[in-house]
Amino acid sequence: MALIRVTSPHVHKANRTADVMRLVLLATLPGIAALSFFFGWGTLVQLLWASLLAVGMEAALIKLRRRPVLFYLRDYSAVVTAVLLALAIPPFAPWWLTLVGVFVAIVIAKHLYGGLGQNPFNPAMVAYALLLVSFPVEMTRWAAPTVLLENGTLGLGDTLALIFAGLDPALVDSVTGATPLDALKHRGGLTTEEAWHSIDVLANGVGAWHAVSAGFFMGGVFLLYRKVFTWHIPVSMLATLAVLSTLFFGFAPDQYADPFFHLTVGGTMLGAFFIATDPVTAATSNRGKLYYGAGIGLLIFIIRSWGSYPDAVAFAVLLMNLAAPFIDLYSQPRTYGHAHAKRGLKEDS
């Protein structure tokens, strides 16, 4: 009997970049659906506009660098960056805000460093942080959930007019409001308990944010199931945030928000599953990933509770991005058969 000899590689389906990116895009769908359902057409418009800009800029830059344009465009990485940015910025943000954001993400944060796989900072978060620092008014004007609007939300035509044709201040004010994190931060002298009853967005509107977080959580679990990333970063990040907020809420419930609020409002879920797990900018070893995730959770809690910015996912991710190479150096697993590397001052240096 002749045995069929099969040589390696035994896994025929390579885990190509484009496949991973497509999976990530697929996993954002529940979150996108929830956002569109609760906040109107804005999210979809921003998604399309940002993707268009990102693909255009990516193509132009690859062309400038004299690389094969189609080959690089087909890895979907520009679209993923654009989608993550579009999900993070307010749905009714003016068109130029997205333009500036995509430019910063694709040109400065990604291609100045040599393109996909070489950028030390997460492009979407660089863009978000830069927009938040430079245009705080536009960036903190999040859409009000539809349930809080008397006349219902804007139709597609009105949304397009609002985003592209310039701002009608009265219209903008009528469809936007503070996010729950913003409302809780600027609650004046109220205790957390009082704020929950008296501020409209906390009392009636917070369900929209819960639903969006649930959508991103489902997408994240799907990605975890498909082994796009390992559990280390999301679990350590969410666990750190939960433990810290439980501790502080337990000691001073008047002053701090409860852990469920921290986990289900703002960018926590999007950050934990879609942004912190970016394999390029995160730490690489499993132990390193645990430190990295814990660091993000810690920073989110610190900045949310005591800083000036209401949400902190972008800053926390950026701060840990800049620590990731250092974490990598000190969390390398020992090579089998070799002793631990010696750190510190060396005689021959």
């Binding site: 100045l112 460093y113 800083g307 910015y309 800053f315 800049l322 240096s349």
Partner: protein, 193 residues
């Protein structure tokens, strides 16, 4: 105690000397190509910065202020810093030849680090007392060291990236420093100082 903790948080994170106040940029850009040398520089700077903020405080309070010579503070602080650096170099040379070899040229270079003079002058402007001056100097040094070490780890990674030719070297280093500074803006408002 809380006060010292606030000074530490303020100098290390919120008002980081390199990334927020933009002091000490020369060693930040110059010594960050390799992690090992960045660590050596950080150690030396931490020592000198703490010591010089103490010495300049003493010189100001007990010599310049009683004699009403406060207008001479900049030049006298430069002198104090140079002396402290020289003293540190001699001590390190005698006590730890290994450390001396590692630090090498960085020790005398600290004299030109504007963060050192900046800390000495800011201590006077903020009217910090003796203990506060020590903590302020130490916090500034820790903030400087942290920024420098993290930056050099990133630069080692960027050095092997396919950066477009016009941006290689210092140019991409500047961009990276700018993005780090952007990230540190997230700490705004943690401590009102």
């Amino acid at each position: 105690m809380t006060e010292f903790l606030l000074i530490l948080i303020s100098t290390v994170l919120v008002n980081n000397f390199v990334l927020v106040q933009f002091l000490g940029l020369c060693p930040f850009m110059g010594v960050s190509n390799k992690l090992e040398s960045a660590m050596g520089m950080s150690l030396a700077t931490t020592f000198v910065l703490t010591l010089s903020s103490v010495c300049s405080y003493l010189v100001y309070t007990y010599i310049l202020a009683p004699l009403e010579l406060t207008f001479l503070r900049t030049i006298s602080f430069i002198l104090v810093i140079a002396v402290v650096v020289q003293f540190t170099e001699m001590v390190v040379h005698k006590t730890s030849p290994l450390l001396y070899k590692v630090l090498g040229i960085f020790l005398p270079l600290i004299t030109t680090n504007c963060a050192v003079l900046g800390v000495a002058l800011l201590n006077i402007n903020k009217q910090n007392n003796f203990m506060e001056s020590i903590v302020y100097g130490f916090g500034a040094a820790v903030g400087f060291s942290m920024a420098l070490v993290l930056f050099s780890a990133i630069r080692e990674r960027v050095a092997v990236a396919d950066v477009p030719k016009p941006f290689r070297g210092s140019a991409i280093g500047m961009v990276t420093a700018g993005l780090m500074s952007l990230a540190f803006m997230g700490f705004t408002g943690l401590v009102q100082f």
